[in-house]
Symmetry: C2
């Protein structure tokens, strides 16, 4: 006899479907819980609303409008880092942008801005592209058991991007910089902002602008990295540094 | 009139085609240089033999057996880190293994061992798989301007893998560990070895074995990472640490 498999991934619940004691999954997630995982009344599962809410639940009832879970425990900010990390990534092609989101969400990124830069200048994403990147982000959030869905946007220039994100502790990938060695304990109230050039890298003017805006140049080493590999590598360093500063 | 574009990527040259003053590209690379980049006599280009040789060349002649470049400068170990990094990665599916190679080569990995582990036990790769991973590695080497082609292998167990690789300074991805904070200046003569569990992670026995073999447990943070994201994140930390220890 096959026993129901405990779902290994977190379920998505819309914030307005979270009550004080119960949550109600939407159609697709209900289907996944009940048909794919064959959950029955009493099966435990986990859900997140993408706004920091993370819920340990047991399946209480299966209603036509969706599966209802009783909240056993709330874990606010589950799987999240102590500070937000905002990525300003010079827009690569969309396959590369998806890789940045795919690896960047589990590594704790709080926002992805795919910035239209001078080199390899391309248009920003249309609604369909943004929707697809958002789906990749949701899948990554559920798989990695985080609880805050990152924002995904596309600024029309690096100047606009820096303005839009506001103050932060700032770093940029730059071959002329030094290896990462900073302490992140200094400004705990600010988000960390990372700038990574597009394929072909930032122009001299863009780099000049970023240095003037206090983006500290970080060298990622002697070989040449693609935009997506550089973004993941720099994010990994910041993540580890945040983990250390909490100790 | 279109002028020949300076090739942006390094060309591959077989080690036996490297002479004291000249190199001879193979058929495919010659085609790429002459047809795709429309190089003419006197066009500068770069080539690597994948064994640490990196050559600044100018195209001297186009012969039926291949393009011949005159070596202007040799840069031994170009794009390489100060120490070898060996990745022991619990074998994920092949799409994930390709991602590990795709991002891991530019980040400086010197060997990839896709280890058959207890969980998600699968067969090792056949010859066709290894050939495909090797192609991904070569493309990454050329794109990132490194000069040593990483080895790609698949050990039948984690015990075999550790035995095969010999001594090293050892770290493993482990949720029960601490953030990475080691100095890598201690044992400069040894390679750095990184163990990352397969999907579903190492079993308690495998972890026990690795700890007994002095793999220091490193926590990569509060969210759950896939095998490929964990491998890239841990490699990024080690890379940065090697860059710092050289200062």
């Amino acid at each position: 006899m096959n026993r129901p498999r405990l779902p290994d991934s977190t379920f998505w619940v819309e914030p307005e479907a979270v009550g004080p004691r119960h949550i109600r999954l939407g159609e697709e997630e209900s289907h996944h819980l009940i048909r794919v995982h064959r959950a029955i009344t009493g099966t435990p599962f986990q859900a997140t609303d993408g706004r920091g809410g993370f819920f340990e639940c047991v399946l209480e009832s299966i209603e036509p409008r969706g599966a209802v879970g009783r909240i056993v425990e709330r874990r606010e900010g589950w799987g999240e880092l102590s500070r937000a990390i905002e990525l300003l990534v010079g827009r690569p092609d969309w396959a590369a942008a998806e890789k940045v989101v795919e690896h960047g969400v589990p590594l704790g990124a709080g926002a992805f801005d795919f910035v239209v830069c001078e080199r390899r200048g391309r248009e920003g994403p249309g609604a369909a592209r943004l929707a697809r990147l958002d789906r990749v982000a949701r899948a990554g959030l559920k798989q990695s058991r985080r609880s805050r869905l990152p924002r995904i946007l596309s600024s029309p220039s690096i100047q606009e991007a820096v303005r839009a994100h506001g103050p932060g502790q700032r770093f940029m990938a730059d071959p002329d910089g030094s290896p990462f060695a900073s302490s992140l304990a200094e400004s705990p109230q600010l988000p960390v902002q990372l700038a990574i050039g597009p394929p072909g890298d930032f122009t001299a003017e863009e780099r000049e602008f970023l240095r003037g805006e206090d983006f500290a140049p970080i060298s990622l080493g002697p070989s040449r990295l693609t935009t997506e590999t550089a973004a993941i590598a720099l994010l990994s360093l910041i993540r580890n540094s945040l983990l250390r500063s909490k100790l």
